[in-house]
Amino acid sequence: MENKQSSSLASFVDSTVVPGDVVLDLSSMTNQTIKLGGGLRQDCDAISAMKAGTLRFSKPNKYWIESSQKRYVPCVEDTILGIVVDSKADNFLIDIKGPAMGFLPVLAFEGGTRRNIPKFEVGTLLYLRVVKANFGMNPELSCTDASGKAAEFGPLKDGYMFETSTGLSRKLLSSPACPVLEALGKKLSFEIAVGLNGRVWVNAASPDTIVVVANAIMNSECLSGAQQIIMVDHLLKNIQ
């Protein structure tokens, strides 16, 4: 049994899957808790893929499917950048680059009560977390982490936001830091917020730094690690 499970896992993790593939069989992995990320769904004991991409696994127990799209499909626990579109009595309507507007309850802030509802102008950029992403419902967002702390979430001031594919934004967040960010970080100081919905916000002291960082990131999409470093060096040389 143990053998079979590991072989079935080994065959799918880091390989390409297409919608309908059954990637995991829960009946063979009792006593385990797993977390499902984007592109996976559970039908009784079978975990099947809902989109084409590469199945990724991160220790201890998280699975998701990685692909690169222009449109974002909301998924629980993703951190995203949203734009305020409208405010209603109970919710802010947030554009999250997805098929439906996200709802941000007016109380979903650290220490939020009816008395201190924040006011956001239309077009405000927010760093958010997805709390609920069910079918047929607008995704629910929050400006706090799971324990109710503000933890960096909330409105982003100044800076410049640009759009990338979802694949690039995930690459920017990967844990040995993305080569382009590492190379830029050695020479320039800047602030960055990456949303998994393919939005990146950059802020720095001077506008030209922002422009350089933004363009370096946008150009890095189809380049290998070494190429990214060369590209950044080239860009920085042109400025100085």
């Binding site: 579109v85 554009d95 936001m161 640009f162 506008p207 350089v212």
Partner: protein
């Protein structure tokens, strides 16, 4: 309503402020200088495809024999159709053409007509009976800003390679420039979202002004207009050269294609002789 909201494209407050402040220190979001054009590439293949940075426009020319208008029995007909696909920009709605689509068609139409790029009288075959109706279809494939320039170049490039049966069609040039204070040319998608006004001038390669279009927005002082016209004239020359180069490449290709047919036919002949 909400479905439509989800599709409309919007800019954050941060971006608007950043684009404006950066422009004040002469920096643009893609690292260009205020009066620098994006890279233009023109592909000719019977139809033309113009790529201006992210913007892509396809131009297609077709001709049909029709009866001329009663009041102009000796003149051919030139009509322009613009097609804004929702694929190009989520804010374009399928179905009826929007305000921008109509305006774009009018600008291209006026530029081509006033510059006499198409000699409508030479399209006449039999006065009052048969004339050629030239139809230019402009398909916006991707909207990355400055559709007007891209559409004009595409229309002209398509016209230059179009040949009506057994006749040839002459061409002049149309080229224009878009402005807003602080003025820039060739604005990208995001810059268009923050601009206050726009002025389009159509200039031909000889520096003659063919048309000026000022659509709403903020007023433009006379000094700025003169400066824009100078800019437009200098850009017109370089872009016309680029269009002509692309046409030249296509014409040689077309000529080569014609030549290529011969070897196969002689090959057949040889085989027949052997038989």
């Amino acid at each position: 309503m909400e479905g439509r909201l989800a599709n409309s494209w919007r800019l954050t407050v941060n971006d608007k402020n950043f684009i404006k402040t950066a422009l004040l220190s002469e920096i643009r979001i893609d690292g260009r200088k205020p009066f620098e054009y994006r890279k233009i590439s023109i592909k000719e293949d019977g139809s033309s495809e113009v790529q201006l940075g992210q913007t892509r426009v396809m131009g297609m020319v077709t001709a049909q024999l029709v009866q001329p208008y009663r009041d102009r029995p000796k003149e051919g007909i030139l009509s322009i159709f613009t097609e804004f696909s929702p694929m190009a920009d989520p804010s374009f709605e399928p179905g009826r053409p929007g305000e921008l689509a109509v305006e774009l068609g009018r600008i291209v139409d006026r530029g081509l007509r006033e510059s006499r790029a198409v000699d409508t009288e030479s399209l006449c075959i039999l006065a009052g009976k048969f004339v050629w109706a030239i139809r230019i279809d402009l398909h916006i494939l991707d909207n990355g800003g400055n559709l007007v320039d891209a559409a004009n170049i595409a229309a002209l490039a398509a016209l230059l390679t179009f040949r009506r049966p057994e006749c040839s069609l002459g061409g002049e040039d149309g080229q224009e420039v878009i402005v807003h204070p602080p003025e820039v040319i060739d604005p990208t998608h995001n810059e268009e979202a923050v601009m206050g006004g726009r002025m389009t001038t159509t200039v031909n390669a000889n520096g003659d002004i063919c048309a000026i279009q000022k659509s709403g927005g903020e007023g433009v002082p006379r000094r700025v207009i003169m400066q824009c016209l100078q800019l437009a004239t200098s850009k017109a020359a370089s872009i016309t050269k680029q269009i002509k180069d692309a046409v030249e490449v296509f014409n040689t290709e077309r000529a080569l294609r014609k030549i290529k047919r011969h070897p196969t036919s002689t090959g057949d002949d040889v085989r027949e002789k052997q038989n």
